[in-house]
């Protein structure tokens, strides 16, 4: 509890950002039709690949001699970009299935 209060007082604006972003996430998703659940899940999954930005930062900050960090960072970037590229591509394919044919 004390830690939480400390965090809030030190990162007041971040706290607001967290709360507001949570509301945005909730409001944006609620009341969407069930058929879109799967593409939406897939799209959200692609978005969670944003963690790749962290992996890139790890590599940029790594000492070129520190092979362990470099290797871990490399793998992290590979996995992250698979998540991003694969995620968006799969979502796109799914959504293609939903479009009206003429």
């Amino acid at each position: 509890m004390n830690e939480l209060i400390e965090f809030i007082s030190e990162n007041l604006q971040i706290t607001y950002i967290l709360i507001l972003a949570t509301f945005v996430g909730i409001e944006v998703i609620k009341s969407i039709p069930a058929v879109l659940h799967t593409p939406l899940m897939s799209g959200a999954n692609a978005l969670s690949g944003v963690v790749i930005v962290g992996a890139i930062l790890v590599m940029l900050n790594a000492n070129p001699e520190d092979y362990v960090s470099l290797a871990l960072g490399f793998v992290a970037v590979v996995l992250g970009i698979i998540n991003v590229v694969g995620g968006f591509a799969v979502t796109n394919r799914m959504l293609q299935m939903f479009k009206k044919k003429k």
């Binding site: 945005v24 944006v28 058929v35 999954n45 790749i52 871990l72 992250g80 995620g87």
Partner: protein, 461 residues
């Protein structure tokens, strides 16, 4: 911090929000996906070129290599895989995202020293643990969905064990945050604990509940990304992660609701997967059998036919035959439509995706709320491999586990033909009174085989 980079991250964040919004409407969903993808590309570009100066070239080369390798792999998997294998693919990708977060945590753990702030240590540790849980959990879910991990392994008292396990991890992590640590091995221990918990968490859950579990794990990956964002004071990761986290939770709950379940019953297991048929001993009356040729005659002389596809259609891979049947009937002047229940199959939109694969005209797929009033006018309803979604117990048996779930009101039609292989239960593991209805005839057999016969009979008329 570089102002240009800040603005790039800001723009990327906005594209994420707008993209998610657009994804929520059928007409704009594709645009939403592309919007978010562009924003992501922008964020990645900015992170590489604007975060730091004087980076040795070798590092840029390595990053480029990693991006190309991973990008090509992701792209190939995504475009090669069959439509019906998509949910497990999402799970796999999600696992990779979690692994990425865990690896970042591992590296940063090495930089912890006595002077590190408790907040920093806490974010690193939770990044490792949450990332590991999503990684192993997603892999188990993937294995279950693609069939390599068939059985539901339930340790005795697994709920108790799992809860104790996670409490143990939290206690250990809190201890580390408070006491500090220098030993890098501890990071690997945390990683291992997270991996084990992920397996324990997903293993007891039935295969059919996996879409819900994947959505939940997806939400967790978002939280892991947000935590990493706090660590690097990076807004796009922070806001993007939180968005995915909260949207994922809402989506998970929405999925459960569409199946008339609670999140708790999915996780702590009530009937998913290994459930035993309920009330099998009740006498429900007698059933009427029919043959492909009789069914063909009936449908040939009908004016309105409604097809109700279900999970069995996907299992039998009969989406092409059913399309052929529908075209044949239409040629003969019969009015054919598909009734799409929102949770027919094993993932939301499963039937849409399946039927789209065989090029069924999208306008023939009618959503539950719109088709229900039309069953009154239907001469024949053909139920193919569907069970729970047409079970009247949802309306009239308060003791049934699916009581209250909205269903397709096929009972209102003049005749009902049900194709399935046996009298076995569906996902919910319960008997279905509909099969004993005097208007119902059972057409036993694998969906693909039975429909193929039906089609050839029709052709001969």
């Amino acid at each position: 911090m570089d102002i240009l980079l800040s603005i790039i991250y800001l723009v990327a964040t906005v594209t994420f929000i707008v993209g998610l919004k657009l994804l929520g409407h059928p007409e704009t969903a594709k645009k939403g996906n592309i919007t978010a993808a562009l924003g992501m590309g922008l964020a990645i570009f900015g992170a590489i070129f604007l975060s730091k100066e004087n980076v040795p070239n070798i590092i840029y080369i390595l990053i480029a290599l990693a991006l190309v390798v991973g990008g090509v792999i992701g792209w190939l998997i995504a475009i090669k895989v069959e439509m019906t294998k998509m949910p497990e693919l999402v799970s796999l990708f999600n696992g990779f995202g979690g692994a990425s977060a865990a690896l970042i945590g591992l590296v940063e753990f090495g930089n912890i020293n006595a002077a590190s702030e408790a907040t920093i240590v806490a974010t690193i540790i939770s990044g490792v643990v949450i990332g590991a849980i999503t990684f192993s959990g997603s892999l188990v879910a993937w294995g279950k969905l693609n069939g390599s991990l068939k059985s539901v392994v339930k340790l005795p008292q697994y709920n108790l064990i799992n809860n104790l396990f996670i409490i143990g991890i939290i206690a250990f992590a809190s201890y580390l945050v408070i006491q500090g640590t220098g030993n890098p091995l501890v990071a690997y221990a945390l990683l291992a604990l997270g991996l084990v918990y992920g397996v324990l968490f997903v293993l007891p859950i039935g295969g059919a509940d996996m879409p819900v579990v994947i959505s939940l794990l997806n939400s967790l990956t978002g939280i892991a990304a947000a935590i990493t964002g706090v660590l690097y004071d990076n807004m796009v990761m922070l806001v993007g992660g939180i968005l995915v986290g909260s949207a994922g939770i809402i989506l998970t709950v929405a999925m459960c609701k569409a199946m008339n379940r609670t999140l708790g019953s999915v996780i702590f297991g009530n009937f998913g997967g290994a459930a035993v048929a309920d009330g099998v001993n009740k006498t429900l009356g007698t059933i009427t059998n029919t043959t492909p040729s009789d069914s063909a005659i009936m449908m040939n002389y009908a004016t309105n036919v409604i097809i109700v596809p279900g999970y069995g259609l996907a299992v039998a891979q009969a989406q092409h035959v059913i399309h052929e049947l529908e075209e044949l009937l239409t040629e003969k002047g019969v009015n054919v439509k598909y009734a799409i229940h929102p949770v027919a199959g094993r993932m939301p939109g499963h039937m849409n995706v399946l039927l789209a694969e065989s090029n069924v005209d999208y306008s023939l797929l009618v959503e539950m709320d719109d088709i229900n009033p039309q069953f009154n006018n239907a001469d024949v309803v053909l139920v193919v491999g569907a069970n729970d979604v047409v079970n009247p117990a949802a309306h009239n048996d308060p003791a049934s586990p699916i009581y209250g779930m909205p269903i397709l009101d096929v009972e209102n039609a003049k005749h009902i033909i049900v194709n399935k292989r046996s009298m076995n239960a569906g996902y919910a593991g319960i008997e279905n009174e509909l099969f004993y209805n005097s208007k119902t005839s059972m057409l036993f057999g694998d969906a693909k085989a039975a429909l193929t016969e039906l089609v050839s009979e029709l052709k001969g008329m």
